[in-house]
């Protein structure tokens, strides 16, 4: 098990730890609910240093990224961030990630912790000559500062006007006493920023964040709240909601795919899938009688198996048990009643609209 760079700092702050993606990570400090609500109502900070950073450098780096990722990367400029997926040749999702455009010759990919090595080899497999891949994951600290007060809070540490960083843009600014990469991104459904730095600067910056954060009743948040927050806004969790056996059309991520591009890895497979139509879809479910957890089976009212749960949790904002999962078509209409089972116990569910709560991010433009 690998420790994240600020492990002892988190220990000092009474973190309860959990093993995740080969790392020992903070699960929560006070309670998942307390941390969740701090992000919905005020501001919370996550140390997400377990995330991976892979840089592509060299002539045509952007063109290569456009070829290996599904979203339109070619028409991005310096300071643009894109949420996208990376596919295998069958159209299965290798990872979902953020792509940062520095120039035609430099792209930074921020990938899921569990997929760092897999992604690296996937990129390497298709890499064009003249390009260099650099795995910077081990030396990069990443903090996510999220919540309706995130901008107001971070403004305390910089003279740069943070309003100038729009949603899904990044910049290098003087903050916490150094020049750091900051983007207006996140994965909680709230406005917020993600800040990147090296190991040495991490503890210093986090100490400042927590000290000033007292005025904002800030919380240090763990993986637990990260999961419940992304779940409420129905953002996908790799390994739970998406993986290589699932394509982005059935997962509802078609908006991340630019089919007009001349070519990208997985394009042929997706063309076929689009032509033939998908066989299942990703749905939201309201659950009665407990939590429907990952891998529970879904049945129709006649007890025919029609799908499976990918994520299930309790929504602290809506005060109810909800789930996400795949249901075989033509099932999955809004209002359809279903039964969910772990083999021992039945729960009752109803298909409802996604997202469970609307993201409150600051939209572009």
């Amino acid at each position: 098990m690998k420790k994240i760079p600020l492990h002892s700092f988190h220990e000092k702050h009474n973190a309860k730890f959990i093993e995740f993606a080969g790392f020992i990570m903070p699960l929560y400090y006070t309670s998942i609910k307390d941390e969740h609500m701090s992000v919905r109502e005020r501001v919370g900070v996550f140390d997400v240093s377990h995330m991976g950073e892979i840089r592509i450098k060299g002539k045509n780096a952007k063109k290569f990224a456009d070829y290996i990722l599904t979203n339109d990367i070619l028409n991005t400029n310096y300071k643009d961030v894109k949420y996208t997926v990376m596919l295998n040749e069958n159209g299965g999702i290798v990872d979902d990630l953020f792509s940062y455009t520095f120039s035609d010759e430099e792209i930074l990919l921020v990938v899921n912790a569990a997929n760092i090595e897999k992604d690296f080899y996937h990129l390497k497999k298709y890499l064009w000559s003249g390009l260099e891949l650099i795995n910077e994951s081990e030396n990069t600290i990443e903090f996510a500062v999220q919540g309706p007060k995130a901008e107001d809070f971070l403004q305390n540490f910089t003279s740069y006007d943070l309003k100038d960083i729009k949603y899904f843009k990044f910049d290098f600014i003087e903050i916490f006493g150094e020049k750091l990469l900051i983007s207006r991104t996140g994965y909680t459904g709230e406005d917020g920023f993600e800040i990147y730095m090296n190991k040495e600067s991490g503890e210093k910056a986090l100490t400042q964040i927590l000290e000033k954060g007292k005025d904002y009743d800030i919380r240090l948040c763990g993986l637990g709240a990260r999961d419940t927050l992304r779940f409420e806004v129905c953002y996908w969790l790799y390994g739970n909601d998406i993986d290589e056996s699932i394509n982005p059309i059935e997962s509802g991520q078609k908006f991340l795919v630019n089919m007009n591009k001349e070519n990208f890895i997985g394009k042929n497979a997706l063309e076929k899938i689009l032509k033939e139509g998908i066989k299942r879809k990703f749905v939201g479910i309201e659950v009665n009688g407990g939590i429907a957890r990952h891998s529970y089976k879904i049945f129709d009212r006649n007890l025919n198996e029609i799908g499976f749960i990918t994520s299930g949790n309790f929504s602290f904002v809506l005060n109810k048990s909800l789930a996400l999962g795949y249901i075989n078509l033509p099932h999955g209409e809004i209002g359809e009643e279903i039964i969910i089972s772990d083999g021992k116990r039945n729960l009752y569910g109803k298909i409802i609209k996604k997202p469970f709560i609307k993201p409150r991010v600051k939209k572009e433009g």
């Binding site: 309860k16 699960l27 929560y28 309670s31 998942i32 609910k33 637990g224 419940t228 009688g289 407990g290 939590i291 957890r293 949790n313 309790f314 048990s321 116990r345």
Partner: protein
């Protein structure tokens, strides 16, 4: 360090039992609520159900995990804590008080000798 109260009986699966006459009140320990984390669901036990000592009665779920509640004693379920069913968070907040789970009419007092006292349970859950 989790809280352990005197004058309660404890079993290894982290339930406590308070005896008042021939009635037993059942809940989970401070250790158990802390281990579970934010409790978000408590199944309602069936009134009138006859249960055996050690039998799994209801499930309790937190954000992280689901757990079974085992009856520390044999008898009949005579009351359910509706407040905890409707607002399971009170089990986190007050596991020995407002967060009790159900009451049992005790069938056999002899079974009490198989349970731990506060000292025994503290030793058992010493971390």
């Amino acid at each position: 360090m989790s809280k352990v109260l005197e004058n309660l009986y404890y079993q290894a699966t982290d339930e406590w039992l308070k005896v008042e006459g021939d009635i037993g009140i059942v809940g989970i320990t401070d250790y158990a609520q802390d281990k579970l984390g934010d409790i978000v669901y408590l199944e309602e036990a069936s009134l009138g159900r006859k249960v055996k000592k050690g039998e799994a009665i209801i499930s309790i779920e937190s954000v992280k995990a689901a757990a079974e509640i085992h009856s520390p004693i044999s008898g009949e379920i005579i009351e359910v804590n509706k407040e905890a069913v409707n607002n399971p968070q009170i089990i986190n907040e007050d596991p020995y008080g407002k967060g009790w789970l159900f009451k049992i009419k005790i069938e056999n007092m002899d079974e009490l000798k198989d349970l731990m006292d506060a000292k025994g349970y503290s030793e058992y859950r010493k971390e």
